[in-house]
Symmetry: D2
Amino acid sequence: MLIEKYRIQELNDSQLSTHKAKLSGLTGSIANTASVIEKLIAFQVAIPSWALGAGGTRFGRFSIGGEPRNLEEKIEDVGLLQALNQSSGAISLHIPWDIPENATSIKALAAQHGLRFDAVNSNTFQDQKGQQHSYKFGSLQHVDKAVRKQAIEHNIEVIRQGVALGSESLTVWLADGSCFPGQLNFRKAFQNTLESLKEIYAALPDNWKVFVEYKAFEPNFYSTTVGDWGQSLLYASKLGPKAYTLVDLGHHLPNANIEQIVSLLLMEGKLGGFHFNDSKYGDDDLTVGSINPYQLFLIFQELVEGMDAKGMNHATDLGWMIDASHNVKDPLEDLLQSVEAIQLAYAQALLVDAKALDQARQENDTVKAQELLQDAYRTDVRPLVAEARLRAGGALNPIGLYRSLKVRENLIKERGLVTVATGL
Amino acid sequence: MLIEKYRIQELNDSQLSTHKAKLSGLTGSIANTASVIEKLIAFQVAIPSWALGAGGTRFGRFSIGGEPRNLEEKIEDVGLLQALNQSSGAISLHIPWDIPENATSIKALAAQHGLRFDAVNSNTFQDQKGQQHSYKFGSLQHVDKAVRKQAIEHNIEVIRQGVALGSESLTVWLADGSCFPGQLNFRKAFQNTLESLKEIYAALPDNWKVFVEYKAFEPNFYSTTVGDWGQSLLYASKLGPKAYTLVDLGHHLPNANIEQIVSLLLMEGKLGGFHFNDSKYGDDDLTVGSINPYQLFLIFQELVEGMDAKGMNHATDLGWMIDASHNVKDPLEDLLQSVEAIQLAYAQALLVDAKALDQARQENDTVKAQELLQDAYRTDVRPLVAEARLRAGGALNPIGLYRSLKVRENLIKERGLVTVATGL
Amino acid sequence: MLIEKYRIQELNDSQLSTHKAKLSGLTGSIANTASVIEKLIAFQVAIPSWALGAGGTRFGRFSIGGEPRNLEEKIEDVGLLQALNQSSGAISLHIPWDIPENATSIKALAAQHGLRFDAVNSNTFQDQKGQQHSYKFGSLQHVDKAVRKQAIEHNIEVIRQGVALGSESLTVWLADGSCFPGQLNFRKAFQNTLESLKEIYAALPDNWKVFVEYKAFEPNFYSTTVGDWGQSLLYASKLGPKAYTLVDLGHHLPNANIEQIVSLLLMEGKLGGFHFNDSKYGDDDLTVGSINPYQLFLIFQELVEGMDAKGMNHATDLGWMIDASHNVKDPLEDLLQSVEAIQLAYAQALLVDAKALDQARQENDTVKAQELLQDAYRTDVRPLVAEARLRAGGALNPIGLYRSLKVRENLIKERGLVTVATGL
Amino acid sequence: MLIEKYRIQELNDSQLSTHKAKLSGLTGSIANTASVIEKLIAFQVAIPSWALGAGGTRFGRFSIGGEPRNLEEKIEDVGLLQALNQSSGAISLHIPWDIPENATSIKALAAQHGLRFDAVNSNTFQDQKGQQHSYKFGSLQHVDKAVRKQAIEHNIEVIRQGVALGSESLTVWLADGSCFPGQLNFRKAFQNTLESLKEIYAALPDNWKVFVEYKAFEPNFYSTTVGDWGQSLLYASKLGPKAYTLVDLGHHLPNANIEQIVSLLLMEGKLGGFHFNDSKYGDDDLTVGSINPYQLFLIFQELVEGMDAKGMNHATDLGWMIDASHNVKDPLEDLLQSVEAIQLAYAQALLVDAKALDQARQENDTVKAQELLQDAYRTDVRPLVAEARLRAGGALNPIGLYRSLKVRENLIKERGLVTVATGL
């Protein structure tokens, strides 16, 4: 299914006057809305190929219907999102779930949809059919060199696939760890993992980055070998300048101050990018901004402040990706909500009066500092985000349009009701 | 110090046109703003007498200066808040920190400031000078009947004080519990506590309520004898119709779903009221809405929905109180921020399209349900809250006025720099 | 595979003198070892049929080989455990994973292995093939009466199956809840669930119990409709005298004091039984006693104290079940470890000097109370548990025997390497 | 009060035959008990001067009576502990609570009691009388250079005091952080803190170490500027070879895997030492081993394994200190329990069959690895610890002797009932 431009235009036209009225309320009272809108237009969030089907838990999975049956259909789905919001201009592949048989034609297909390929993701947390060694007891950490070797080679193969697609980064998320006290020598597991990562690092093209993702727990329930930002930073520092830490919002212990972690990783020049989602308990992989949107804003406030302090380009110097699972929502609707939540947080962060904040901090005026943050946060920035979409050729109301066009119904018609996309 | 009406008027006048412009943006697009503003005017939050001075932690306390030295000055402070926001029309006393020597004159003083007396609070978590028995090992739970008796009598004395002031409820927060496995027989501690509460309950006037507050931990670090809502509900149910559960937002285990607890307590007819604050780790007693304002909104969404379902009066049928500690902020500024955060959450909850939400739920349309909540939450309702203040005779910008009138500086001049208010 | 008596005898004989020496060290210094051993012999833990194969997480599953392919083989597996430890004399079935085609022959088979049928478990957290209505949005809580009806009927069918097998209790664990704020009306979800449970309750035979299990989160990641002990107790109280709360050790928020919950449920006469396991983060379903064995002991200390206070029979008046998942261990070895951990905690709890503890508590002698608990806990009670096994006809060292008999290798030979048992 | 040798001898004699019987049970079945006992004798735990009086919480403090009124009496108290257990041969001072007026005589007094001075502790989390600048908004992180300067100078003064006493390390625990989002620029706070630490580092004598302690939260409730091991390691790495991380067991987020942190810090050569205590919720400062003794064992297992791998001396190459608070126990009894819990965990860790564990790990034999750990843990090593005390001249049963000698009663007689030791 393709969304024709005129359908977007039609709906936008019918909503334009209301939108413009709301927008003018903001542009009248806020100085820098023009620059905010420009930055919003430039800001693109990568969609993970594994999040286009219904997700599940270990207790089961409930199909949504019309799920993409192959890589081409996944690109088509991201293309739909991009047509609607013009902010999802990249796709993040997962190997071996998405091995492109013909990279050239896949690249061309993506380009037709206005998409580029963001970080490629390796997978050593499951055993694939016909795989020689099992990852039951880890991959890059494994006590057996042969297993490590297999996992290293898989990662190098993923880089190769990524190069062919024009991707420029590799995300390594390891399930490696242990379920029971005693199972693992933590030190040796770290050292094995480091040695393995070094071999992968050596295979990176010059213009590539590798993102070392951390996670506190799950699927291992006693220890994880890249368990927190401190461990990830240790690996990244020992690896070299192309290695960075990747922050997944759901991968922390309860009550962690993620925004402080973000700030310090930026300070160290070692923040590589994000996996956005939201969570209440663990790696719940819920819609971005659905549980704690203020935390998301605080993270973006650190990003804007910290990137500006380093002269970084908001749109291109970090990897912006969603990593979510859609157990009870239509994945495409969920992703539209997630991208919008990210944009809102970013827009609010751009509204913070940085100079006044600096001064309030200099004076230890905690009340004022909070007021400055909340003044930006409480602003209804939806018209700014909508305007950015409008100018970029997207829909004022993406979910509204998605529903009025009956996209899901059409996909089900095209693909069937009982398709199952690869993924979690 | 008193804030004269004309000072408020002056500042309001200078901000009126900007305010009206913002307000009209809302009233133009939202149907029920008039009713929302009315409800906001009626909604009053009680200020705790113990939160008017600088708070501290076990590691120390940093004075703010100009803290109230006695009950009269505490009332004066709440009077200042009420003058500024017209939403703090009640004070919640803590006995024995605030024993009124002459109830009649204290009542008259409060009335001059437009204040009534909300729930009175007993204190059996500290030993008072000259006290016969120590509460080191608990009060209402104590293994020694004589200690329990002393604690019971203290509570009855608090009721007596409350009656004299026109209060109509008693809040019982117990630090009772244990620090070490083995220390306590949980069952006997429960039964002793219940028996004690029954004696206190028997002393309640007909029109009174008793609020049984729960808390997961601190100051006891292994168990608390009223540790969660389940335990509080057990006590309240066994006590009778005048007993209710009181929810303090900071008194839960990590990740607790407080809004669900609120909903179920309302369902059972056993929700008594709130102690508002915010927290990241434990009973941090931070400014309301400073850490997770969306959670606060979700709680108010349950309150509005649940109270409406029972035909309850929002303003009067539950006890609305703040319980916070002010370690790094001017307490009065902090309280102005807290009251505003509560009003914003309440206003947003009033904007939720309840009918559409019901329907979305009926259809399991999770995406729509989230959109409906976030549509209300993302609305910038500050103009509504400001308008409510304006109509009630308060300031459009309470903190701005507080600062321009140099209230703290005046209080320091009047009361001195090294005063210490009673409290934590 | 069957373990012949003489194989057990052989290994026991070779270890007997060492065992007897260790045992006499204990019997010499502790007064009531005879009674402890008797109680240990009587104490049987039910093995869940779904825990006999390799478990998995949402990230994958790594087969162990030789997993039982049907109910008969599951019974055979539990029979192996029972032959080895003589403490696993019951099996807990899960419908529809284990529908017995012929109840009579299945009962006979179980009897041959010395097994009885403990609680039967319903499953409304997955959709079964050909099922009319989906449980994607809940079962007993569902907004649609037809879905609730289907789930109710399934539970009644489970009771029927259980009756045929001689089971006398039904465990209802509901995944019902919500993933997102807004998705659910908590109150209506509670009321629907209660109404549904009432219909199931009405179908219980006179001598049956229903266990209402609670869980804080997963697979729903925002709210669970039976989310904590308070909610479970509300349901159980409203249902009637045959309804009880079931405590699964992994189903709590971080830092919860489970032993206090156990004590209070016993006090209320509403504790029904246990799902034993251990966890560090969430419902990790790890081997009992592998993460925090002291907590397990503290729970048993409450059980022994509380059951004795009510004159309850330790062995029969509560349901003792394991609920674990075996991602990296041989399930049978894991279960042997789990049962032993339970027995050790129970034995230690039996050694607590209850009279002295009472007195220490009466005197608020916290140091002494801790010493009394830790004195029992630090005692090496393994000889007592081994002696109980020996007297009952089991192995002194079950895991040692299991390995020397190459049980897993034999099961793989019999059943194949790539079998997959039903379960999580 | 002094405990005369013959009183210890007397009680030991009366318990000797029972003790010897228990001991021989162990020495008969375990190979390396002689070496374990030797290592236990060498292992000394430093007692913090601030833990000798009743501790408190922000809700109050309940005196114990007989608390030390000055540094001399604190040394006397630690001397009592040392006389009883011969494992508390060091004291850790806290400046300015314990400024020695005459270092020479204080050193001599300590020597009389067999005590040396362990790490000295600075205090910039409270304002001291007459202090020019306030630490309300931090010390080493402060936005104002003058405040940082004052805090730096205080630390250098503490080093000076420590040198005079023969201490060789400085522990820096900072309460620095923030209570509210917005209050702090995390990056600048880190950089200010680092710069300040560098000045302190420069003042360290050649043979000194500085320990950078981290803490997740409290007294700041939004962020801590040395918040976790990752941050502490960053500071320590940037400072140089004399800087190390100090691990306080209670300073982590819920569910943190502390033993893994310990292992990795050892791997990096950056583990400096410990503050032992136990906790259920936060920095509860409870008796060591009172909540989760298995975790303590797992930490010691990592310590023994990791230190042995580096050829480190268990007794001297790390700083072993207790940091606890005694709200409901006699501090001296609590400390006796804490030291014993540490010794037990250490002894158990020494019993682990390291070679077999290595092999089990090499074979991914998780069941066996757990068995090996739990085999050591379940062993009743109390006779080994008692024997170590006996040989070193201490009491077989320290708490028993403490009570039979009526030490607390004597201290109250000497010092009075209402003394208050400095501390928390």
